[in-house]
Amino acid sequence: MRILVIMGRVLDPGGIAVNRRRGRIFVNREEYVMQPADRCALEAALRIKDGLQPRGAEVVALPRSVLPDDDVLRLAVATGADRAIHLTSEGTVEADDAGIAQVLAAAAERLGGADLVLTGATTLDTGQAQLGPRLAEALGWPQILSALHVEASDGHVAVILKQGKQYVTVEADLPAVVTVLPDALKPRYPDGVRLINVYKRIGELAAAVEQWDVADLVDVEALTPLLEKRGQDFPPERERGVRVTGAPREMAQALADALRQWAPS
């Protein structure tokens, strides 16, 4: 079984500050982390692989966009993926999810097909959830969105998801696309030795991260983004609240009165 995991990176929110009054975003520390939902998707793929021992499964990591570096993919290999495909391009490729879905569909075909595609249900920064279903459409496969638990074997995938207030199991035949929620699983950490080996290209991981040119997969000219950014909007600054001063007992009394009003239990 071959499982593709589509992974992305996101600017660590700890490194940016938003000034609402001035309407500006300050990037204090340009540090990227793996998209939390994609990390869960990788975990889901590795759990399926573990469950299928000794036959196993091949887990291949692919990027969510054309990235300038392959850190996310190396991290995926260090965490347990068997190989990763880094999509590169000579010029800049400004594709959005519509174009990337085509690129990934072409990559899946060049890999010799796949049985299951896993990816994050939503991105941390933009909150967009369209890559999974768009890829399912480009591949012509069924989709299951916002999974909490994924099991795959014998030609079908069983997924637990939340429907209203209850949890239900749904099933689809493979191949299929499944998107995983950010908090669904507790992701494992990358293996230290694998991390060093994948960066230093040692042993069996020497060629784990491959480089594929986007131009070999699709017509780059046709990848112009559909969406155009038209500026930002900032929510109003929150107004300052009431300050309570006085002796500790008076303060406690004022707080107790307020809490009784707001949390009548």
Binding site: D96, G127, P133, A172, D233, W262
Partner: protein
């Protein structure tokens, strides 16, 4: 006012409405694909219709509602009342439960035949599943979780704003070239329109060919422990920070208020809470009725994570602590002194 005059006025208003209905058979327009839940049109569908009406009025376009499901024909009047100029109804037993492939098949045929300019969905499970697939198939652009919608009249393009980092700020995007433009509307972002009981119309019925869904429902999940993330839904949260002093008192306060315990990264470093109890944009974003921050200094991302809370109390000894900028009630005090007295006062 004279009743006969009112009747006359009503009769005048109804005539153009019918004429609009005739014209409404043409293509284009702004479409709203309405979700149906428990035999009623969902509020987000009505809110999307309200937004569509505003956009259509400045664009000079018609608003069409699309209803899919079983026994949905009667609901068409609700869409008319909310501002639709025309309603298309696919009423078929095969559409009783939402399943991707049957719904997709109906909508695809409809979109291909009528070429709408804008197609709106609610940002619900159904809308989130349908919109990207239709967008990919038609080559259209999709903006998800839209909370503001303005119009670029020159190119007839909708500019949608959607939250970044859970609402830290909003990105405005537009789809100037590709048509149709797909939008999913965030529930609660737009006001629910007034339902005008005098607006009515005759819905257009769509023939449905049954399509087999690819995903099968197997029933309730067995032996499944849902991931522990109820903090985001908690009504009352008492959170501790580095200056909280005694965590036992924080727990007692949470118990007294019937709430849950949480904390910032400092509380995690002190070993008081689990990683999934960290309130932060990177951890859990919360929206309780009451949020009590005990000894939390409160950086930007903590502030952003509790922004949706209705009432925020902050107790911190430093008068310059940033938490006081987001709190509704600020106590410049040492939590260790105030908490015992507070517990006493609460009884």
């Amino acid at each position: 006012m004279d009743a006969s005059y009112l009747d006359l006025l009503m009769a005048q208003q109804e005539e153009p409405a019918e004429a609009e209905g005739m014209e409404a058979e043409g293509g284009g327009g702004i479409w709203v694909v309405a979700d149906v839940a428990n035999g009623a049109v969902t509020p987000v569908a009505l809110q999307a219709l309200g937004a569509a009406r505003t956009l259509a009025d400045s664009l000079g376009a018609y608003v069409y509602g699309v209803l899919l499901g079983e026994d949905t024909t009667d609901l068409a009047q609700t869409l008319y009342q909310a501002g639709a100029d025309g309603v298309r109804v696919a009423d078929d037993p095969s559409l009783a439960q939402f399943a991707l492939e049957p719904y997709l098949s109906v909508l695809w045929d409809l979109i291909e035949a009528q070429q709408p300019e804008v197609v709106m969905f609610g940002a619900t499970a159904q809308g989130q599943a349908l919109a990207p697939r239709l967008a990919q198939r038609t080559g259209g652009g999709l903006i998800e979780h839209v909370v503001t919608a303005t119009l670029d009249e020159a190119t007839r393009t909708v500019q949608g704003g959607f939250p970044i980092y859970n609402g830290e700020y909003f990105q405005i995007a537009a789809c100037p070239q590709a048509r149709p433009q797909f939008l999913t509307i965030q529930p609660g972002a737009f006001p629910t329109p007034f339902l005008d009981p005098y607006r009515k119309g005759e819905p257009t019925m769509i023939d449905v060919e049954p399509v087999e869904p690819a995903v099968r429902m197997l029933g309730p999940a067995r032996d499944f422990d849902p991931p522990p993330a109820p903090l985001a839904q908690a009504r009352v949260i008492v959170a501790a920070g580095r200056q909280a002093g005694d965590f036992e008192l924080v727990k007692q306060l949470a118990a007294a208020l019937g709430g849950q315990v949480a904390g910032d990264r400092g509380a995690r470093d002190a070993g008081w809470i689990e990683p999934e109890q960290i309130v932060d944009v990177r951890g859990v974003k919360v929206a309780p009725d009451v949020y009590v921050a005990v000894g939390i200094r409160g950086n930007t991302f903590h502030g952003a994570a509790i922004e949706e809370a209705k009432f925020i109390v902050a107790i911190h000894p430093d008068p310059d602590a940033p938490i006081f900028e987001v709190a509704d009630l600020c106590l410049e005090a040492n939590p260790q002194e105030v908490l015992p007295l507070l517990l006493e006062a609460l009884g």
